[in-house]
Symmetry: C2
Subunit: 124 residues, 2 copies
């Protein structure tokens, strides 16, 4: 379903347990067992969660004997942040310009306002 990395990242963080694990890893690296500790789910389930986070590039695993310490890859967060900022800002500036546009139009072509406005926004 989610083939691109951005989708994998958002999808990975859509799960509260995985967000929780990210929060834990932000404080310090932890093995799969350590990550599983606070939850009442099986270690296998946690291992799966880690795999999802790793596939998204949010977490990397190293080898330490049998253990697989998990490390949070902070840089990947920037991918998300960039995407979010991009559209948040655009929506915001559009919203701010809406006042001016509406002042000019004064409620004419109510339905069309949206599409008209889209072209206005695209001109920025």
């Amino acid at each position: 379903m989610a083939d691109d990395q951005l989708s994998r990242i958002f999808s990975a963080l859509a799960d509260p347990t995985r967000r929780d694990m990210v929060a834990r890893l932000a404080v310090g690296d932890a093995t799969v067992g350590e990550l599983a500790d606070p939850y009442d789910v099986s270690v296998q389930a946690v291992s799966k969660h880690v795999k999802v986070l790793a596939d998204a590039g949010l977490v990397s695993q190293t080898k330490d004997a049998q253990r697989r310490p998990c490390h949070l890859e902070a840089e990947v967060f920037d991918l998300m942040t960039k995407w979010i900022e991009r559209y948040r800002e655009r929506a915001q500036e559009r919203y701010e310009r809406l006042d001016a546009v509406l002042a000019e139009m004064r409620g004419e072509t109510a339905t069309q306002t949206d599409t008209d406005h889209r072209e206005q926004g695209a001109a920025s």
Copy 2:
């Protein structure tokens, strides 16, 4: 599965089509039909996508005759950004401090380094 808003937001944006629709809405409001236009899926499917975005609080719908113009709610993005920044920063500062910690330890108690470090991080 995703009962809290943060989960709903991430889950909503995990779908490329929905992210696409957000990008479209960032440029300007659009009706469900207008949103459906560029895709080869049914209008019903798009209607469902809009519902998901609306449930996440990312989009609001108003009434205009039969039409349901969709508006992007930019403020909700801040919820995500805050969550992301929180852990990205924490991971980053931890990473930077790692150098100092490792310099002190010089590779002793290799396995324990992670857990030790977690307590270090928690002290901040």
